[in-house]
Structures are given as structure tokens and as C-alpha cells.
């Protein structure tokens, strides 16, 4: 294992993530008003953000392994690439539709009340955010893996931090937009 290479490739990304985290924190702080308008949304915000990160980092991790196994020699548009995109898209749609269901059941167990109207808004926000930011992050995963291979950097060393950080910021901004839109249309 090349210690120097891991540190040189990963450390700057980690430090950059600290800045990205601070940026995401400020976006979240700016969402205060819309979070008050749609009570219950705050509960699934961390879960939505994490899920986008989980799906895209798993995708880039698989692409990284495929690269190390020599399966990517036909390029990212080969069958390996296509199947990975399909898998990630289906997972995104599936998990986004689950969050409002979880919220619904949790409202029975915990002292927390929610109306069907609010659940509907949260469902729409969850699905639309999931698909939109999912697409952006899938494209970003491919771009990062392709770029790092091109420049001789191990994709395993950088794709995770870049995707989770970019994912947090993109997802929060997209969530903010849809929450405002659907909140304004329905509530």
C-alpha cells in the first residue's frame, strides 16, 4: 500500500469536506421558515440527505472496484455502467417513497401528530428531491470516477468524500426548492 498516495489524494478532500459541511449547515439554517411551514419535514431531512449519499457512494465504490478489476476497460457507457445506473435509479425511487411511510408509522408510536395533507406534501417533496438529486449525483459519480482514472488518481480515495459533500449541498438546495414549491401549491 502506498501511504503517501492515500494521504496526498484523500487529505485535501477531507479538509474540503469540512468547508462543504459548513456550507450545508448554513443552507439548513436558512431553511428555518419552510421547515416551520411543513412540520415533520425536518425529521426526514437527514434521512433523505444520507440516502442520496449512500446510493451514490455505493455506486462510486462499485465503479471503483470494477475499475480495479479491469471491468471498465470498455468505458463507463458499457453494460457495467448501464446496470449500475439502473440499479441506483431504482434504489433512489424505492427509498424516497419509503420515508413518508416511515413517518406515518412513527406518528403512531411517538407523540407526534401529522395530517394527511402534510404527509402528501412530504411524499411529493421526498420523491421529487430523491429523483432530481439522485440523477445529478449519478452523473457526478461517473464524472468523478472518469476524471480520477484519467488523471491516474485512485477513484476509491476521492469519490466518497466528494460525493457526500456535494450530495449534502445539492440535496439540501433541491429539497429547499421543492418544499417551497409544494408547500406553496398545497398548504
Amino acid at each position: 500500500m502506498d501511504r503517501k498516495r492515500v494521504v496526498i489524494e484523500t487529505l485535501p478532500m477531507l479538509l474540503l469536506c469540512v468547508l462543504g459541511g459548513a456550507l450545508a449547515g448554513s443552507v439548513l439554517a436558512g431553511m428555518e421558515r419552510v421547515l416551520e411551514m411543513i412540520p415533520g419535514l425536518i425529521i426526514i431531512v437527514p434521512a433523505i440527505i444520507d440516502m442520496r449519499g449512500n446510493i451514490s457512494t455505493a455506486l462510486s465504490s462499485r465503479l471503483g472496484s470494477a475499475f480495479h478489476l479491469g471491468l471498465l476497460h470498455q468505458g463507463l457507457t458499457s453494460d457495467v455502467g448501464k446496470e449500475n445506473v439502473k440499479g441506483s435509479l431504482v434504489l433512489g425511487l424505492f427509498t424516497s417513497s419509503l420515508f413518508p411511510v416511515f413517518l406515518f408509522f412513527i406518528s403512531f408510536i411517538l407523540p407526534f401528530e401529522i395530517t394527511y395533507e402534510l404527509l402528501g406534501v412530504i411524499f411529493l417533496v421526498s420523491i421529487f428531491t430523491g429523483v432530481t438529486s439522485g440523477l445529478i449525483l449519478i452523473i457526478l459519480s461517473f464524472l468523478i470516477v472518469a476524471t480520477s482514472i484519467k488523471f491516474g488518481v485512485d477513484p476509491d480515495n476521492i469519490s466518497g468524500p466528494v460525493l457526500t459533500t456535494a450530495g449534502d449541498v445539492f440535496t439540501l438546495i433541491i429539497l429547499f426548492a421543492y418544499a417551497n414549491l409544494f408547500g406553496w401549491l398545497i398548504l
Binding site: G21, D50, S65, L71, G87
Partner: protein
Amino acid sequence: MSYHWKNIFKESAGLLALMGLIGVAGGFVLGSIEETLLIYPILLFLVPILNGVGGNLGAVLGARVSSSLHTGRISSTFKDEELQENIWVMMGMGFFVFFILGIGVVSAGYLFDLGVTSLQIFVVIIGAGFITIFSITFITVAVSLWAYHKGLDPDNIVIPVETTLCDFIGIVSLALMVWLVIM
């Protein structure tokens, strides 16, 4: 190693659903300690950073270990030397980042009123950072090896588990350090 979207979905869907449930539960926890965190806004600011850096370190380590297991570069035991080297380098980098973050926040403390002394905040950051890094490194490697032994693709398993747990560990270790140092 063949990739088919149905296999990817099958291996990941149940796990991601479970992680989503834990995430929603985590949202409730965060909501319930929000008022305590709001007393010292600097702590609220630390939550995403702690979760982010820990999660990212685990993601890099998980991706590296998965690739190495697939290519046979490391054997699937904790005793593997290459694996141990991976662990030490990751921990070293994590500690370094929190050290820098600690110094950065302490310097910011001279410019803005953080509501706590700079020594307190430094100890909280270093302590919470160390707990998070230490546990997340261990969890990541354990889950990778476990998945590999079970014949599952660690790429599909390790990062979701590691980031979800990291969000919990990050918040808990922060709460623990705040309770020990500031309260």
C-alpha cells in the same frame, strides 16, 4: 464479478430501507436535543462536520478495503498487514483533520463570542472527533470483512451502514463530550 441492476437492487434495497428507518429515528433524536444544541450554536455547526468527516473517512476506507478484497490484495482477516496499514493511515488523517478543525474553531473564538472557553471547545472537538474516528474505522473494517465472508458485495453494504452509524456516533459523542466538559 458481474453487475446486474436487479442484483444491485436486491443486495441493497432491504439494507437501505433499514438505514432509512434509522435515519428517520435519528431525525427524532436530533430534534429532541435541538434545544440543548441551540444554547451553543457552535455545537449545531459541528454536527454536520463531525458526521461528514467520519462518514467520509469510512467511505474511503470502505471503498479501498472492498476493492482490495475483490482483487485479492488483502485477505479477509483483521490480522492482514496491508489492512492494518490502511486502518492506521485513515485514523491518522482523521485525527489530523480534527486537530486542524479544533485550532480553526479556537482561532474563530478570538473573533466571535462562542459562549464557551476556547479550551473547552478544543477538548470537545478533539474528544468527539477521536471517538467518532476510532469507532467508525473499526465498524467499517468489521462490516466489510463480514459482508465478504457472507458472499455479499461489500461495495453495496459497507458505506450505507458506516455513514448511518456515523451520524449516530457523531451526535452521541458530541453530546457526551459536551456533558463531560461544558455541563
